[in-house]
Point group: D3
Chain length 244, copies 6
């Protein structure tokens, strides 16, 4: 059940039986030579849609822009200041909390969002703690960080899975948007690895944008596998979260 495609009266009825909601959050940033700039928003949007197909769970519109400061040396990357992203998350949760929602489950597609979104949760707890009638619970679920996904990626690609523009995320984005699959030679086969500092330094270390990955191995078929695994794992986790 998509919030964007519902009426306010449908939401009113939804709140009678559930006060939980799923919010996909991504970013708009380079993902190497054959990865889509929207990858980090596309993956959680697709996974959330999969969850909603299975059961009556309300899905909020995707937050398409995230904290991508370190990718800014690559054209097309857009970054929110960390403090802007913090405020966006606060505003979205605070608005929905006013209507009676209590459990906010963010399906996240981007590692760079973790620090600011977690920071936002602390601000939210500080601001809303006085409201005892319906306490607030927030959770950030990074779709790629769970045993099922990690195991499959290891099995299929070993170390070539990498850290940015990973094979799994590029696959999942291709599964969601087969019309956008890019086919091209990529060298070297496996990208270098290293630490992340400034944007200029990132580009110097990782000239084509990949970190440790071989996204030329990506496929629609693998993307479907990753998507199904993520849908199952996150549906179970969300159900448990509702009981906290």
């Amino acid at each position: 059940m998509q919030l964007a495609l519902s009426t306010w009266q449908e939401v009113e009825r939804y709140l009678e039986h559930s006060t939980g909601i799923i919010i996909p959050i991504g970013s708009t940033e380079q993902h190497g030579p054959n990865g889509l700039i929207g990858t980090d928003a596309i993956c959680p949007t697709r996974i959330a849609a999969g969850i909603a197909e299975q059961e009556q769970i309300l899905i909020a519109p995707t937050i398409n822009y995230g904290m991508s400061q370190h990718h800014m040396a690559f054209p097309g990357t857009v970054t929110l200041r960390p403090t802007t992203l913090i405020q966006v998350v606060i505003d979205v949760v605070t608005s929905l909390h006013r209507h009676g929602f209590t459990h906010f489950y963010f399906v996240n597609g981007h590692g760079g969002n973790i620090a600011p979104v977690t920071t936002a949760f602390s601000e939210i707890y500080a601001d809303l703690q006085g409201d005892i009638s319906h306490p607030v619970r927030c959770k950030l679920a990074n779709w790629w960080r769970n045993d099922a996904i990690t195991r499959l990626a290891k099995e299929l690609y070993g170390d070539a899975e990498g850290y940015h523009a990973t094979v799994s995320e590029v696959s999942l984005s291709y599964y969601a948007h087969p019309e956008a699959v890019k086919d091209m030679p990529i060298h070297p086969a496996i990208a270098p690895t290293g630490d992340i500092y400034t944007a200029a330094d990132f580009r110097r270390q990782f000239p084509d944008g990949r970190m440790g990955s071989s996204p030329q191995l990506a496929s629609i078929a693998a993307g479907e596998q990753f998507c199904n695994l993520a849908v199952d794992a996150l549906t179970a986790d969300y159900r448990h979260f509702l009981t906290c």
Copy 2:
């Protein structure tokens, strides 16, 4: 050409022949008894897609949340603080400007965004004015405010077009998402009109969320007409904007 479905190298090539970009911006707010909560994001997203079908214009991911403070007494509405929205617009423009973009054309679906987005433009001009090498130009195009759209709405619905949850926008959202068409009786036929103050006051004046409109007249066919008119009008306006 969707930014989300492009690679950074494709954007690099795009910048060789154009430094303009279209950014759809909407809101997530009640649209009366049969209107979709996502209406204001859905319409500019659909119109921007139509523009991109015609020619090689880069379309950024939609900003799905806007300034909807006055609709907050209806479940499902999400509002950014005006200052948050200002910061989001600043960050998106500033990021893209760093890559060499100069002309930012926002296709807007929501009246409540006009004041904060215009405010953001002033901040952007103040911040980026020192960069003489590639000056910045921003424009906010409210899709429903042009002669072609107004004339058709007047012709089809007369005064029943209204001011919020208008027949034209509900029609356009149905055209974009036929799976979400809602069919229901609505009373009174035409909603009341009045001024906008606080959220509580809005709900008291406009109990089902409509302002002056009869969205039960909405249809997919009319939505297609509105969409085509908007695509043509905004494509022409965008072309002119690039020359400023």
Copy 3:
């Protein structure tokens, strides 16, 4: 009745019969070769004084600085950042609301203030909406935007009225400050028109600061006419506003 010239006990008594107040807001910015830098503050201050002469309405001190970013390439212009102006308006309204005022009527002299002041109203409604005992109503009245003023300007000057440093506002400021009338030749007779972007661009397009106007036509006598019309129109509008 000027707030600045009253005691707190006089305000206490005023609040027994009215909870409305008028707040003039202007700017400090260039107004062409013969227009005063204070024009946009002088006009609403003079109009508000005229309203107060007619009846017992409380007038707050003028907010002398506004959002004038686009005029910053002309010496003497002062601009608040839009977010600063937003905060000033919030603080003024919030302070007075605490004493029991409920209706805030801003007489505005400057187009550039419209977006930030409107934005401030949304923040105010969000912040103060919990206070049901005395709800808040804000209105921005742009003195030059009403039928009586527009008709007279058209009649007297046709297209030479223009968009910035208009004949009507220069006239009104001369009426308020006859000691500051400037007499000088101005070329070309009618200034060019165009869109507003950055400050540098503004000066390039409009080298002497005028937009589309012939302020050399300004006169004290016409200023008196504009002032009287504005006083009448805004007094009526304010009275209606109090009933909302």
Copy 4:
């Protein structure tokens, strides 16, 4: 020479021989039973006008609202948040500095402004220090804090001068606005004294708003004396400031 009554070309010429400017700053707050709410803005405005009568010094429009948090339990008082006032001062100085002004002399009428305005100066020095071509100097001149004024007040009123709603400031405001003189009995003859904490506490300690003063002693004639002394002292101090 009033900035508000000048044209931008007159300012351009002024800058050829001086880069100093005087900015009156006040507040809008209760001043006891017979003192004007605008006292703290009226006094520096009148003194600045006196300075400008003597020589060619540019005077900016008055900042009419200040930091008056502790007076908020009295109707009619308006306070900016300290951080808002800080930002206003930063914006005014930064704007004028861009045109070439280097010496900013604030004539202040209100003790509560001292901490935030001084804080603003530190922010300004931090922000503008990179601009070596025209370095910035700010000074806050509290008109009532100089030997000449203190001596006369002591001579005329002894301890009855007090700390808030002082006899000297009420006199000076009466001199500036004889039409607003209030004549009334005031008890007790001398108001109590004490420390300043919250607004509620202030009203409890100082029920009619005065601190330690007998403003019933105020007179237009004394106001003229105080004004002349202040004009002379501040003119000399300003001249010296220009040489720093």
Copy 5:
């Protein structure tokens, strides 16, 4: 070499051979029935002192207050808003960077600081990236998160080490402040575990403030062991960091 005990000329000489600095950061929050409120500041301060004993490394004064929102239901806890802590870290790094420091190594004592400090690093990279002459590198070293520490804690306490008010940190604080050792019975032997949400919820779940730990096992002797291990591990890590 303590920055607080050095002169500016000694720092000037230090910068001739190193541009790295260590900054201890902690918090002021409850640490269970026998743990010190200053634990998270005391541990990194003591470890940093140990590092400085070994070699010529400059140690900045400790940031004593951190992000402890979730402990606020226990008396004595102080929390900075996450955005305040972000700003403190930005200001400290930016100041030192201006003097020529390039490598900022934060020794952190508190898990709740991780998200805001990491967020601050992103803001710093965004702000300072233009300065190519001496690029900036930041690292957050959480002293308790390294193999040596984890192994010893496991060996000594098994699961009784816990997650908050851990045996290792209480031991280390006792080693640093033997005068403050608290001896008392604690029940139950091992505290409960769970997720962290609001402050009220934290106190309900963890009534005496511990999470999963048995801090009654803490001892000065074990504290010395943990301290030595941390000093060695972080000295090595810092040396490597300087080469990045």
Copy 6:
């Protein structure tokens, strides 16, 4: 009684008999050729410890970083933006106020902190004024500004005491940290005096960092005298403050 060395249950018991707390606040900034960069934090920390030795008063951890913008041209100086320091003070007081503390006594070591900390107090009074159950009182005690200290400094050093890197503060820091005493020739004997503007200007006027002082006269013995005087004076003042 040090908050950092207490448990939350000890604080709970403390609150049963007192709701006052002392908070040392300093800075990290150059103090001339032989003065310690930590002087302004070391002095209030030492004085607060002295007060706590005499009676049961709770001492919070020291705020080690202050507003030192004007010293930034000397290596090793760290400055918080004034607005950051304001926020730190607000957060510390607000946190402790939530636990029931009502009287916040800041022992301050640095003149540059006065404006921002005083500003913070105004914000705190505005924010917390609604809480009638336990009203808030804040006081900033500048240790060097009291008759006993001033008299001794005058007696010992006459004019050579100076304004920054004073003999008294360097002495007190030496008394607190005898291991850090620096012995060196200093020329000229007495440093120049002048006004404070930007950091660059400060260094030009005061090349070795001193303002009007001869800190080569500093001694541990004098430091002990100053410390004892300050402890006595501030203990008495604190006791009085608790009764306000």
